[in-house]
Amino acid sequence: MSVIEGAIVYSNLLVLLSVGLTLTYITTAVPNFAQGSFAVFGSYISLTLLRLYNLHPYYSLPFTFVLGGLLGLTVYLLMLRPLIKREASVVILMISTLALDLILLGIIGSYSDSLAQFTHKSASRFIFTPYDFNLAGLSAILLVSSLVIFLSLFGLFLLLYKTRFGVALRASMENPDLAEVMGVNVEYTRLFSWFLSGALAAMAGTLLPFRQEIVPSTGAIIIVSIFAASIVGGLANINGALLGGYIIGFSESFLTYNLSAILGTGILLYSKVISLVVLVIVLILAPRGITGVNWRRVLWKKSSSQ
């Protein structure tokens, strides 16, 4: 896999994860610290299907989509909705997703040990790269991840902009109270966003082992990149997640690789530092992310000062 290919694949996966994070943030106003573990949950579903039924990870994508979605729904219904009903503050909700992350880590870890005992093959550390192949000179993961991202985003935009449900969804994302007055059931928006967030994250989890090794605690490592992607783009805007995902994905893999030519290969270990630096720079310049900036006003100020 060339560096550019790797960067595109990684960015695609980050976009899948950060779009989900942004969606749930818009509808429920809580940054989900368990988004990384949602992905690892998907990785383990694919691993199970591969080990038990010899199903190629690419074919397990529909299963992870559905199961990941159900996980997202369960989390919202059992965990967050009761807290929201009791009018918990944002910090309390954030702490509850931290707790969720720990619970998921415990479940995934114990599942990984049990699976290893059942199949007599270690499951605490795995990678799917041996199952990848080449299609027309490009690695299959590049095509598959691009296809997945294209289909999910195309589907999402069709839904949001071409259906009545989408209009209701966008209305309740923009202004929940007003939408409720107009007869929209805001609860549906939340259910939908948590389903989709879980589903997209789990699909990213299926594809992630093609690029990096997965351990039960991988979620804790990738969460920094996911948040960086969402915040750089702007947590309040889905398009922002798209933009942020590619910015962080490319700076983490492509920029780091190019820097290693100047500063030595040691820097490759510090790819997360690069995304943190990008995050901090963006937050200083634009605390609401790139899409949170009123660009028309910035351009107008520039032209009027000349």
Binding site: V90, A99, L100, D101, I103, Y270, L283, P287
Partner: protein, 343 residues
Amino acid sequence: MEEVIVTIALWFGFYTIVSLSLNLEYGFAGIPNFGRALAVLMGGVAVGGIFNRILIYAFGVSGDIITASAQIRSMTNDLIASNPVYGVGLLLLCLALAAILGAVTGALFILPSAKLSEDYLAITLLAISEVAFMVCNYNTAIIGGYYGVSTPDVLAFVPGEERMVAFTVVTLLIAFLVYVIVRRLTNSPFGRLLRAMRENESVVEATGKSVMVLRIKTAAIGSALASLAGALYSLYSVNVIATSFSRVEWTFYPFLMLLLGGAGNNRGVVVGTFTFVIVKILLTIYKHEIRTFLHLPFEAVWLEYILFGLLMYFVLLYRPEGLIKERPIFTAPIKKVVAKIRA
């Protein structure tokens, strides 16, 4: 049995320091510090990275930090064994280094809060702490990374079998000091100002106080205190290794103890810490027994994670104010007014 009690007392000491420092920052000042582990890690860096280097320079030992530290350990241990004053002096030096490094890191680390709202701030602090953890883990030049560095045993003059008890006494003493400091701070005009900031920042600004300066002061003090725990923990295990400063152990668990006990109530936090530590240490000590008894096909540590995650959730859902509620402020003038009304 005796060993179990000593272990509980030791960890109660470490965790009391950290959860009280978090109480100052989150319970009183309302700063959602999701990066508490960073300050504790700085305690480890102060011992493994700075204190060790000072000794290496003083003794003129050559070589990289990992091998030189091992040499330093045997040299200083001999010195400390023959002269206890030396050991106590080094212990105090370590604590001072940790407090200074912690305070500086805390003050710098909170700067993003100038521009960010609560949720963005929490994410940024968590990201900074997580990245610092990764750097210390991968880079073997700071504190030996995943190999770890050894540190001198500052209590080398105590015979081997009593070392743990002696260290527990030292830790509990410092935890008590931290309790006194936090209590005095929070029962002062400064503490009331912090509570006011938590409830409404605009009101504090309107009275002419700078919210940012208040936040920097709080984070510096809180991080300095938490660093003490990191330094003590490193000196206790005579080994600094980055992996032992994980987010679960030093950010999530302190939050659990704090919320279990009651945010904004120092006595409650101590009770919460004590409850948590008993459960945690018993789980850790009897993990093999639990595993065989329940026929678990997996490591008991995963069970611990699920259990503490659920405990946190139920505390948030059913008892968000904690075991002991935060009490209203009774200053001398208010007491006078109350007495007048009653009379």
